[in-house]
Amino acid sequence: MAVEVESSPRTHWWNDERIRAILVQVLVVGLFAGFIWFIVDNTAINMEKRGLKAGFGFMDDIAGFQPTSPGFNITNFDVNISTHSEVFFLGLVNTLMIAAVGIVLATIVGFVFGVMRLSDNILIKFVAAVYVEGTRNIPLLLQILAWYLGVILAVFPAVRKSWDWGEVIFFNNRYIAFPSPIPQSGFWIFMASVAIAIVAVVFLRRWAHQRQDATGQQFPVFWASVAILIGLPTVVWFITGQPLAWDVPELKGFNYRGGGQLPASFLGMLFALTFYTGAFIAENVRAGIQSVSHGQTEAAYAVGLRPGTTTRLIIIPQALRVIVPPVTSQYLNLTKNSSLAIAIGYPDLVNIFTGISLNQTGNAVEIILMTMLVYLTISLLISAYMNWYNKRVALVER
């Protein structure tokens, strides 16, 4: 049944399908390269014509502006000496922070509401449906403004009338001021005890698993782990004489000084991103759970598993196969959407580097290019991690 694909001597080489395919590809790649060259060349010519100089020398110039408040300055930006590359770094860290916290919270919110939508209780189902449909269908920028202007600025009090929580944490419409820890001597012993507790829990789990495989006896791993994680560090904490002092914020002049601050713009962004993305994730979770056939549950009950165990060991692992790929896109969306932070003044990469640095230096092409590369890199990294995770939870066919 072998089919002869060799061209007959009468056919010309340009009629050979394989050669044609290669030719077309070469042509397309050539055109694309030419297009890229044209854009780069056109940009260079026009920049030269307008007297604009290209290059990254500006990154070493002193920025001369203050991109963030002293209480929220993770990279220790110093207005007296810091350069534009430090502005870039500060913006990058702030972007990563809002993205990381947002992803964690959005995942939790998404799972909770996704499961709620499948509840048998009509009220719970209705609440989840209203949340998901309402949030998903309103533009994110409006939600950011609503959270910031409508909730944080409107509900929280002015700085002099801050709500306090035990006189150590203060809430107002500018920030949450909280005490920051100052490690004393002997603090490393405490940290070591925490590490030991974590390692111990890992070994305990492994041991319990092996014992169950061998003997069928179960061990209360969860409660034992909690006891170790809390117990050991607590004992060490008191033995070493509480090796941690706190820098408690205090109202001095216009603002609270000391401790750390979470700016209102961070909270506004966080709420908006969490609930917006959470609604999409909730739908993914719902779809994933619904994709697992009900027969699986019945089979699990038939062999005597309890409902909680059934969900954890039977339903979720199978649902994850459907949930993970679309949730990856949501994580990417959340990260990229964090660039809307400029609307409420959160000092993320786009706000301070692509915004202020660009304006003060005028190096638009270089700065926009760098910013695009940053988002591309972050997105590809998240994507790579989620693909790895997806491989792990994917159906293993034997």
Binding site: F38, G51, F65, N173, G345, N359
Partner: protein, 337 residues
């Protein structure tokens, strides 16, 4: 094939935008409209009125240039730009002229590739605070939270001023004036800082203007003026001498009302300004009576000033240093000859 079509289209677009760099006057004439970059809305300087028509001190400069080129002040297309987008808009040729209370600085003039055609408002950066804070001077602002509009010289001045006085501050960096105002109004910042003209314009639109006070310190020199792209000297000259014509007209007493009769004035400089004699218009590549059209359409500098930002407007800005050099200010135009 579809792919190729897209390529050609993209190439054509790119080529067109390349061509836009050449002689701006010819481009403007062939478009039949002047693309003018203004603010996104700053009361008195540039803001749409109730009927959606742009009005203001900077807007009238756009209208004056339009009158000089077309003999008609209404052939202007206004492009609202933020502090951040304004320079890119001008560099890329999206606007032909930027009249957007922009400070003339060395790096903008030299490094960004622009040409400032003069100063239409001498300003300085100031601070506005709520009266009930009891602050009397900017030197008491240590530790304050400050609202700033992004993409402006104010960011740098502010950092410089606080550094020089060994004080610290927390910035709230906002994109537009309106959003910065909302933050200030709600108490998210203690201080609002921008040019003092901008503070006056912002103060009048606050719910209770009397509850806010502009501090006496002026921490910077902010010569605000219109600008064009570097490298087209003819277009730069047109903008520069339109501005000078407004100032000279005030100096010579030529107003919107008397410009027709002034055309037959005996004063040779008035005659040259209005095109009754000499050929200054032709030298610019414009019509002979371009100056007449400018004054006829928008009036002289003083009339524009009093109409939009002067003592009898809500902004109530006194002329101060923006008065003519003959009456104690620093406004001075080179002679028309």
């Amino acid at each position: 094939m579809k792919y190729l079509k897209h390529l050609t289209a993209a190439a054509a677009v790119a080529l067109l935008s390349t061509a836009a760099g050449a002689a701006t006057l010819d481009d403007v004439k062939s478009k039949g409209v002047l693309d003018c970059g203004v603010t996104t809305g700053l009361a008195g300087f540039a803001a749409p009125d109730d009927s959606g028509k742009w009005q203001g001190f900077d807007v009238d400069f756009c209208r004056a240039v339009s009158a000089a080129v077309f003999g008609n002040p209404d052939k202007v297309k206004y492009t609202p730009t933020t502090g951040k987008t304004r320079f890119t808009a001008l560099q890329s040729g999206e606007v032909d002229l930027l009249a957007r209370n922009t400070t003339w600085t060395f790096s903008r003039d030299v490094d960004l590739g622009f040409e400032f055609v003069g100063v239409n408002y001498y300003d300085g950066q100031g601070f506005m605070v709520r009266k009930d804070l009891g602050v009397k001077s900017a030197t008491e602002l240590d530790g304050a939270t400050v609202c700033i509009q992004t993409g402006t010289t104010t960011e740098l001045n502010l950092a410089d001023y606080f550094r020089a006085n060994n004080m610290s501050f927390s910035p709230v960096v906002i994109e537009t004036n309106a959003e910065a105002r909302a933050n200030y109004e709600k108490g998210a910042c203690d201080v609002y800082t921008t040019d003092r003209s901008g503070l006056a314009a912002t103060r009048v639109v606050l719910p209770d203007p009397g509850a806010h006070v502009v501090l006496p310190e002026i921490i910077s020199k902010e010569p605000l003026g219109p600008l064009v792209r570097h490298g087209d000297n003819q277009w730069g000259d047109i903008a520069r001498w339109t501005l000078n014509a407004l100032v000279t007209a005030e100096e010579l007493g030529v107003t919107q009302a008397n410009v027709d009769s002034m055309k037959s004035s005996k004063n040779p400089e008035v005659r040259r300004l209005l095109g009754s004699e000499g050929s200054l218009g032709e030298m610019l590549g414009l019509s002979k009576d371009w100056g007449y059209h400018v004054i006829k359409s928008v009036g002289n500098y003083s009339e524009i000033y009093e109409r939009h930002i002067g003592a009898n407007t809500p902004l109530g800005l006194a002329r101060g240093v923006n008065a003519l050099w003959t009456s104690g200010g620093i406004l001075y135009s080179p002679p028309f000859r």
